[in-house]
C-alpha cells in the first residue's frame, strides 16, 4: 500500500496524503485506493492556480482592503511598564518596506529551566537590561582649568547593579582609549593623554563617555517578565538577537525578535521570510480581519527571492524590474526615464504595466498565449 502512496508523493502535498492515510478504512483494496488517489489528484489539479492568473494583484487587493480600516495609532500596553508596540497599518508598512530597524523593536526571550519556572526571574531580566554610564552617574562636569572630565557616580544606583567605583573605572578604561583615569570615593576623573585639547573636543568626549556600556545586553532598554502557558517569558523593548541567544539560561531556539533584517543576518533568509509572514499575519489577526495566509506568503516570497530582504519600495523589489517603464510607473518616473534614456535601455514589453501604458493586450490570463509563426525556408 505504501508503494501506491509513494507514486503520488511528488504530485500531491504531504498534508493531503496524510489526510487520506488517516481516513481510509483498514484493508482497503488496492484498486479502490488507486481510484481515490486518482480522484483526489484530479480535484487538486483543478484547485491549483491557473497559469496566467494575476496572483499579485489579488494579493494586493486582499491585503490592501482591510488595510484601509486598520488603526493608525501606536498601541500602548495598559498598566505595567511603559511598553509600546507599533501595531496596525504603520507596522504592516514598516514590515513590507523592509526597514532596517522597526519603530519599536521588541524581543521575546524564552528561558531554560530553572529560570523558565520563575526562579530569580526578576534578577535575570534585570541583568539583560542595558546600563549605560549615564544611568548610574549623577553628574558629568568639565573642569575648564585642568581640562578634565569629572563623573560623579550615584552610590545607590551602583549598589543596585552591584558595581564599585574601581570596576566602573576599569570598564571605561577598556572601552575608551587614550585617557588617564583617577578615582576617589564616588568620583572618576578623566584626562586626555593628548596635549592641548580644545574645549570642543572635551565636550564631545564627555558626550561619548555618557554612552559607555556598563552592563547588560546592548540595545535592550526595557524588560518585562510575563507568564505564558506555565512558563516565564521575558518581553523586552529593544532588540539584540545575536547577543541574547549566546547567553546562558536563554533558550536560543525559541527566542525571537520582531526585527526582520536582524533575523536575516543572524538566522538566514528563510527565517526572515517566516518572520515576515508571522508578523504580518499577527497584525491582521489582531485587528480582527481575515486574510488568507497565501497572500502574505506571496508577498514574503517576493521580498526574499534575492537572498536578502528587500522592501516593496523603489529601492527594493521595484528596482529589480527588468522594464524601465514598469519602474517609472511606480515612483519617481522622470528619474527612471532619464536614466533609461542615458544608457539606451531596451524595453521588451514583457510584463503588465508597460503594456497598459501602451494600450496593448497585457500578458495575463487569456493574454498569455501568442501565435508563433513557423516560417519555412524556401
Amino acid at each position: 500500500m505504501d508503494n501506491i502512496f509513494a507514486e503520488y508523493e511528488d504530485k500531491l502535498p504531504v498534508k493531503i496524503i496524510e489526510d487520506i492515510k488517516n481516513n481510509i478504512p483498514k484493508g482497503i483494496a488496492q484498486n479502490k485506493l488507486r481510484k481515490i488517489l486518482e480522484l483526489v489528484l484530479e480535484e487538486y489539479e483543478n484547485a491549483k492556480v491557473h497559469p496566467g492568473e494575476a496572483v499579485g494583484l489579488v494579493s494586493a487587493e486582499s491585503i490592501g482592503e482591510p488595510g484601509t480600516q486598520m488603526t493608525l495609532n501606536t498601541f500602548h500596553f495598559a498598566g505595567v511598564a511603559e511598553m509600546n508596540v507599533t501595531l496596525g497599518l504603520p507596522r504592516i508598512i514598516e514590515i513590507l518596506d523592509g526597514r532596517e530597524t522597526p519603530d519599536t523593536p521588541a524581543m521575546e526571550i524564552y528561558l531554560k529551566a530553572p529560570y523558565s519556572g520563575g526562579k530569580d526571574i526578576r534578577e535575570f531580566a534585570l541583568s539583560l537590561k542595558e546600563t549605560k554610564l549615564s544611568n548610574i552617574a549623577d553628574e558629568f562636569s568639565i573642569s575648564l582649568i585642568n581640562s578634565e572630565i569629572e563623573i560623579k557616580l550615584n552610590k545607590e544606583k551602583m549598589k543596585a547593579h552591584s558595581l564599585t567605583t574601581p570596576k566602573v573605572a576599569a570598564i571605561i578604561a577598556k572601552q575608551i582609549k587614550g585617557l588617564n583615569i583617577r578615582e576617589s570615593e564616588e568620583l572618576i576623573i578623566l584626562k586626555s593623554r593628548a596635549k592641548e585639547e580644545s574645549l570642543n573636543e572635551i565636550y564631545k568626549a564627555k558626550e561619548k563617555i555618557k554612552d559607555v556600556h556598563i552592563k547588560g545586553v546592548k540595545g535592550i532598554s526595557q524588560v518585562l517578565p510575563i507568564k505564558r502557558n506555565d512558563e516565564y517569558v521575558i518581553i523586552t523593548s529593544g532588540s539584540n538577537l545575536a547577543d541574547v541567544i549566546q547567553l546562558e539560561g536563554v533558550d536560543p531556539y525559541r527566542t525571537t525578535t520582531n526585527n526582520i533584517i536582524e533575523v536575516q543576518q543572524v538566522l538566514g533568509i528563510e527565517a526572515a521570510r517566516q518572520l515576515i509572514i508571522n508578523e504580518v499575519f499577527k497584525v491582521i489577526e489582531n485587528q480582527g480581519f481575515n486574510v488568507d495566509i497565501r497572500h502574505i506568503m506571496l508577498v514574503a516570497d517576493t521580498m526574499c527571492v534575492s537572498g536578502k530582504v528587500k522592501g516593496i519600495t523603489r529601492y527594493g523589489v521595484v528596482s529589480e524590474k527588468a522594464s524601465a517603464l514598469a519602474r517609472a510607473s511606480f515612483e519617481t518616473p522622470i528619474k527612471h526615464i532619464i536614466n533609461a534614456a542615458l544608457i539606451g535601455e531596451i524595453d521588451q514589453l514583457e510584463s503588465v504595466v508597460e503594456n497598459v501604458m501602451l494600450n496593448q493586450a497585457v500578458p495575463i490570463g487569456t493574454g498569455i498565449p501568442q501565435l508563433i509563426a513557423n516560417f519555412k525556408k524556401k
Binding site: 504531504v14 531556539y253 538566514g268 533568509i269 517566516q274 495566509i293 537572498g307
Partner: protein, 80 residues
Amino acid sequence: MKTKFKVDKHILIPKHSKLSDSQKEKLLEKYNISMNELPRILKTDAAISSLEPKPNDIIKIARKSPTAGEAFFYRVVVDV
C-alpha cells in the same frame, strides 16, 4: 558564559539540505527552468553555514506550511 548555538535548530528555520548533481539536473528538468530562474540564497547565509555551500549549489528547503503541511522550496547559492 557563552553557549554553542546550533543555528538550524531555531524554530524559525526550516530544514536546509544540499542537492546532489543528479538531483539538481532532475529538478531543473522537472520545472523546465535554468539555474538563474531560481530564487537565490547568499553563500554567507547563516542557516547553511554547516553545508559548506559553493556558488551554483542548489539548496532544498523543507518549509512547514500551514496550507500544504510540508512544502519544498529551492534556492541557488550565489556569491554575496
